[in-house]
Symmetry: D2
Subunit: 342 residues, 4 copies
């Protein structure tokens, strides 16, 4: 089998590097181009020395990439820029986008949360939301897949099956979430310095994080009526991992049964035995997600947990899982590695 | 002024060491005895080398302490043991207990949560709950003060004033909390190894943590009716600090006003400007607590935050604050140090 | 090709779990037995939840393992116990031992450093020291391979080629080393608690760490005369990774050239460009080692660095690399994964 | 006693904040001005929320400070800028500088290491090097004191007394050092992001760190002949703390005796019992330094350790210790707090 030729646009960030890491041992893909506008001309090994043992193409600018040498683009660029770049790509190429630019169906919602008009409405119409477990069939036939937010997928794995099954009160969903600092990217910021993050747990973007838009869109579809959760993310003093702790009203056993049913055949989502809760260390570095359901002491209430690695299942692993489907490869190809613990 | 002579029972744990650290520069106290049953005979500097510059008494067993040389005992022993030890102390000595043994008024609640009968019911009757901000007047005249749970005080600072002011729905209180690993003590356990904690965020004792008993007791008193919150603690990959993220139903501005009123004159509790949230790094190593209130996007809902250092305001600093009151010293004496950041 | 049947003796420790993690995606091996004396009867997923997605045999005691179902044993047991256990295994089975029990040729050295007589001298005679890069040919034909100490391999990669090439003064070798806490194992100890390790950098076993015995044995062989280095290990507040910083006397460029020559064709050892130094984060979770050489300001002196992951190249990855050779499999099989960063 | 009026120039960095933290409870100093050019006009509590309980002056620009309201300036500005700023201050004010600008006696050395001419040679002539333990008498009468580098003081505490006592070979000094990330400051840089530092131990500025200039200057004075050590610093995944591990040739017991003699009456330097080594966690947040001496297995060699907190004894605590002497206050005033552990 010939390997699919892959370009990664925006390879100098953490999600770009994570794509390279995963594709390095992927039997069905090979990297034909890596781009990074500001670091064009450099070797990938000078940007990411952990990849120095690999034989990789030199970093180039996007307009230096020959589309004839690319079957599928992974696009790991900032939002807004992304819409411009993808608009300029040939329309016969497959694209998996990791930015926020094609996640929201409704241009008004996009404008509300991202502060400017959507610049590629025609592309938005063909984009499929990249939460593989819920949109697998559409992703298989898609040309453009919009990867989910890393927090957004975590909350959705915990909540969406419960709304579909009608086992929780859709007006009483509280998503408390904590995320590792790699989700904030590699651009230097005071708030992500080691001296600030270590011993420094705190909430951020409280009740106004952009991933709320994804929750509202997807939860409303699942429930068949408008649903808006409370969402508070926190920044963890650790590099990787997201844990969502979701407070819901419903019967805990029914909730657990709904999860078990929804994810029964999923290769990457494990529902823990009733009463057990996941930990970020048990999914680190892998494409696995762990779901747990625990009954509250108060009748009619339950706590639902979801844990995953923000850079893998929350971003680059998810992107490869979707690309596998788009390319007709086995869905789990290249993603079989077990979590790294400790 | 002669300094009050202090004994610390259980000086080989983290809260014991923290008492020594704080008393070392306290102008009104001096340490006359330190006990540690298993390490009796050793110098404190061999157990805690960070205290080696201090001139401290050698560790002894409890029955080697001369009560004639003690005015006030800090008791930092495990629960159950504590009841026996305190029962055997002379009845004319002041005691600040840091264990769970005298926190619950109701012996039935004690038995339910701690698994055995209360062994010192007469002492329980005179014990005053040690949350200084709410029981200051009773603590001033108390002989036996029961320090709060470290999680328990954090949740109570966030919630109790709101129940007293009647500005939140008492049936809809969800306390999501994350705590540093020093709260789990110095006894070696697999779950608190660095290799397990680092990168390993997870919940524990979900909806069945013993501090729920304190919440139920104190919240019910504040509300004048039974109140039972949902409570889920999580273990942070950091040493110190607790952040409670509390989801309530009520008007956010009214909630903020209730906090501002309740803590207006408190030396150690700061209510942040409306819309701001605290971080554990901003209280680390100090007796300060920070409270924040943020409105949810959903009308009629708010998120209340409280942050403090579990070993100081959550344990040993609180104990000294109470001892200051019992001894007739200025309440803030020895506790003025600013937080250590970074 | 039929996969080689593998037993892992001592699967409840970190190196045991790491063997399982790596074998899980190894195309040439499958696990037929996992042992853990104290946890026999349990599922591996209850001991290591990060492996719960795998279909693994239940933990058993060593004497429950059917040798007929095993071609190669990985032995990840404490020292001394190991000699007894391996002595009792059938003599026609291949064994890769991860303990210290068969590393030292000289029984007197073993007794000096490990405090008791060697209990299996006949096995010692056939044991081959498992530093693949230096003993590859002998390992291919070995039945019993003794994995190196994790610190020991790090220092040897940095120093041994220089002694062989005669480019440094053998009497002036100072190995300063820092290691992640996972190397201390999963048994709970005060010294490896998060609260003690975090922010707590310090040296340990100063100038008397047992891996000195390996250095003396191997360096002396390489130099053809007795060589004894100074060796001071330190405990890092991180989970994985070893960095050796070695101070030597010699011409830095010649040293770099000797390294480049020694490791030119090695799949897992990369010599960085002259003047560059490695970081533990760039090898984390992988079987790769990075070597760097920097000239000191003082003429005739150089600093040599080696970085690797203590649980992979320093233990379980090395063990699999050796097992691959013993089983006639490609040496890199199952070890191709790139490092996990961040 | 009236408190001395203090201005802190450069209060928006970590050393500036640390000065404020320490002065907040200093009985002999009060802050009359805080400057931060880019954040002038802001409250200190918005830059450093951990100081929000303090009543502090608003941040201003340097030229807004009224010298009439200042007796002593702490100058925590970048190098080069510092020379200009201090040159413009009235010549009758006391100054404790925390930058590198006045540490080197020799303008040629300054130019070599800092890349440009010294801009205030007259001030350099009156500057006293701020290593209190070695220059106490001159500091008492100084107007301008140049604080040491944080790495520089750590190495000097370990080595200088040995050179003075003539108990080590001055040509064979190797200073291996590891430092917490707060030493790199608060300006956002990729290399100090949490995601890069955590699990990422590595050396930096190998054999060319600017603090070598201080070592050469001070060691040569102590030895009465030119001395140049090897110096390799490493970046620790922790916020605070420096540990120097120094390899020397000499008799270990004599070395220990020389340390014991040199520091016998020092309030902030403790020499551990022979054979014991310090840890950064045991000095964290305090002005204490711990020294340890261990014999190497190889005769005639020893390992000397020094541990201190880079932001306290390595910078702001040292500055206050010096200011106390200059102001005629007790040397330990305001610096008595015990280390914060864990």
């Amino acid at each position: 089998m010939e390997k699919a030729r892959i370009a990664i646009l925006g390879a100098s960030g953490y999600t770009g590097a994570e794509l390279v890491r995963l594709i390095a041992t992927h039997p069905g893909m090979r990297i034909s181009a890596l781009t990074a506008e500001r670091r064009a001309g450099e070797e990938m090994s000078s940007v990411f020395p952990h990849l120095r043992h690999l034989d990789l193409p030199r970093l180039v600018k996007i307009d230096e990439v020959d589309p004839g040498d690319v079957e599928l683009y992974f696009c790991a660029l900032p939002h807004a820029t992304t819409q411009e770049v993808i608009s300029a790509l040939p329309r016969n190429k497959m694209i998996v986008d990791l930015s926020a630019d094609f996640r929201l169906d409704d241009p008004a919602a996009y404008k509300e949360w991202y502060g400017h008009d959507h610049l590629a409405l025609d592309l938005q119409e063909e984009a499929v939301y990249g939460l593989t477990e819920f949109y697998r069939d559409r992703i298989k036939g898609a040309r453009l897949v919009a990867g989910t937010g890393c927090n957004a997928i975590t909350g959705q794995l915990a909540v969406t099956p419960l709304l579909k099954a009608g086992v929780i009160d859709p007006d009483e969903i509280i998503i408390n979430l904590a995320t590792g600092v790699s989700g904030a990217g590699r651009a230097p910021k005071e708030g992500t310095l080691h001296a600030e993050v270590s011993e420094g747990f705190h909430a951020y973007n409280i009740a106004r994080h952009r991933h709320i838009a994804e929750f509202e869109q997807e939860f409303s579809k699942a429930a068949g009526r408008p649903v808006s959760p409370t969402f508070v993310p926190h920044l963890l003093p650790q590099n990787r991992g997201i844990l969502a702790t979701v407070y819901v009203k419903g019967a805990a056993q029914e909730i657990h049964a709904a999860h078990a049913a929804a994810f029964r055949d999923e290769p990457f989502v494990t529902v823990l035995p009733f009463g057990e809760a996941p930990a970020t260390r048990h999914v680190r570095g892998s494409n696995h997600a762990h779901i747990g359901v625990v009954a509250d002491r108060r009748p009619g209430r339950a706590i639902v947990f979801a844990a995953l690695d923000n850079l893998v299942k929350g971003a680059s692993g998810q992107a490869i899982q979707n690309a596998n489907l788009m390319l007709g490869l086995p869905e789990t190809m290249g993603l079989e590695a077990a979590p790294l613990f400790p």
